[in-house]
Amino acid sequence: MNNKLYYSIITLLCFTLNSYAQIDSTLIKPGSDTTKRSLMNLEAIHNRPFTNIGNTPAALGGYMESNWQYLSTEGVSEGHQFQFRRLTLFTSATITKRIKFLAEIEFEDGAKEIAIEFAALDIELSPLLNLRGGMIVNPIGAFNENHDGPKWEFTDRPLAMTNMLPATWSTPGFGIYGKKSFNKWMASYEFYLSSGFDNSIIENSENKTFLPATKQNKNRFEESENGTIFTTTKFAVKNNKWGEIGISHMGGIYNKYRDEGIDIDDKRRVNIYAIDFNTQIPNTKTFVTGEFAWVFVDVPETYSQQFGTKQQGGFIDIVQPLYTRKVLDWNNATVNLSVRIEYVDWNKGRFKETGHQIGDEAWSFMPGISFRPSQKSVFRLNYRYLKTRDLFQNTPERTDALIVGISTYF
């Protein structure tokens, strides 16, 4: 069929069907805290604002993020930058009772990168035992599962979660998850078996051990680099008053150690541990969200110390709602003050040659102010103060940036 005709029919169908919004804003900060308290990061994938299409079981949704940025590194600036960071579309369908499907497709940087971030079937046997299979998002930390732009008060994703851990890293896999509530307490678990990383985590143009490099390997959707299984495990507990804390692990053999039946290298493991938490301080309604992760990679002794065997990093976000009131026609428009403090060390260790500490690290302080006309949309103004130090621990390079951005579900 002619492409134009095909798209026209789809568009017409979308507009002519009797659509109505089915908004679940409970994961959106600062949200309706009564409902939010019953949800955990585990459920972030499904708890998004969707629009149902007539009486069909399918629902559509998505979000977009766009920024203006003025950045300067040691006095050198590329000038004004208008960025369209991403457009994400998601669709879900309740196939029958207890069987759900959800897919998330992301177009980054004007479709320079198109990825199926999530496309999995969920079967609920009981709240404590659900099966999931397809393209899954590995629950290492919380950001990987809960990364939608409109949920955050910052224009940029956390450094450690995007440049140390591979944010929104997804891969084919299967697993189980479940949740149990006990009065004010909830507990959840997730366990997945999936394909893993590849050699690119230590052979890449970033000149460092860089787990996100594995996202460039498009073959991972049909062929595992080494035929071994990666495991991802997460446990989390939540108290309605105190908040949620989760611990997670992801690991497995990452390298191609055998080719055509011939051993060509030792088996080398990567292990990632993460701890995440979020809470709201009752008196001030301040949101605190944080995550910290540690990466351990078996790098060959005969390779270069440029590629670290240990990494660590994390962030903490503090978001203080200033006021909520009616502005124009927005009944619950909110202004928030926020700050993010983050740190990444891509190479924790000491040089064999000198015994001195290896650098390759970054710190960032990012205050901001955000305005939410509704829970679905956010206008953000951030200032970033970033210091990066090279491998040799030379004088840190300072980068400052002013960023204004919008992000909205639709």
Binding site: S72, E74, G75, S77, E353, Y383, L391, N394, D400, V404
Partner: protein, 399 residues
Amino acid sequence: MKKTNTLIIILAGILCSVACQKILPAAPEDHDLLDGSVQGLNNEQAARFGRGDLTFNNKIFTSETGLGPIFVATSCGSCHPGDGKGHPFTSLTRFGQTDDTGNKFHTQGGPQLQNRALPGYQPETIPPGATFSTFTPPMVTGLGFLDLVSDADILAMAKKNENNIDGIRGQPNWITLPSYIKPKENAIARYDGKYIARFGLKASVYDLLHQTVEALNQDIGITSIYNPIDQWSGQPIEPEILASEVHNLVFYLQTLKAPIQRNPENHTIKAGKSLFKSIGCEGCHRETLKTGTSLITALNKVEFHPYTDLLVHDMGSELDDKYTEGTAKTSEWRTAPLWGLGLVKNSQGGKYFLMHDGRAKSIEEAILLHGGEAKVSRDRYKELPNEDKSQLTAFLESL
């Protein structure tokens, strides 16, 4: 109330628009940086400098783009961060030559050890019986000026030393040119067809093309049309870098600015400079040289101040690693240009790793390691009162 809110929004907008200029960091002073081009490049030359800069400082080689499989570093910038002097982490090990009859270990990986390897490969080890030396990568700024010093001037500096009462002699290092190198205009050849080399710690590299091609090949494992030999297999393979990219790198090195002295009029620094001359350091570390003709205006027939004579000198037994290159003796090292010395720490993690292998952890330690032809000057330095020593150090750090 509405008016107040509108006013606040307008003020916030104005604040934001001027904030870019006010709160973003200012660029460091030119004299505090080693990178940057010589003045007066035209637009075409500046663009080419930028392309070379990208390859030198930003291009990371991987197995997909030709790295190794045995190598020392993954990029040019790894060894010369910020175009400065390297760190012991990226020091090179050279082995296998003890005199001017050449390297006896060419078939066993000589002259350079590739001490790292891609996963699944084994790096080289020093063959039994081979002597070796460790080389800390030098800074790369100002090389275009040194490249344009005429052979006649270098020979003249050697001749001038013949009757030096401090025992300074110094001679050029002569090498056989690789097939891809054309002798410079007005080059002076020796009776045996060898030419004067000037780059590298032993002055065994003829020009910046020679330096670039061999560094790509020996340090990173990148073959080119100029040197297609793969270090791992010893066999010629397809070029792993475009010739145009090699030429851009060469142009970048040619047009990197010379380090700029800081506070030259400062009283202490001026006193230190007088001491530097009076104790005889300038016998080898010549303050002023001049370039020949160049199509690049900033390099054309100008005087510059590198504090070197581009000759190799006997530095005594303590610095004799029993390894050499070209016609230099094992105890002979090229006079290190002192320009940029005060900025060395900025690329070595805030510490000094001086002399050819980084063994000196301070300027004073480096001076005290001078022996051989430099012994007389070193002994004069030892006799200086502490205040004078401080002035001399201040001068050297200002370079």
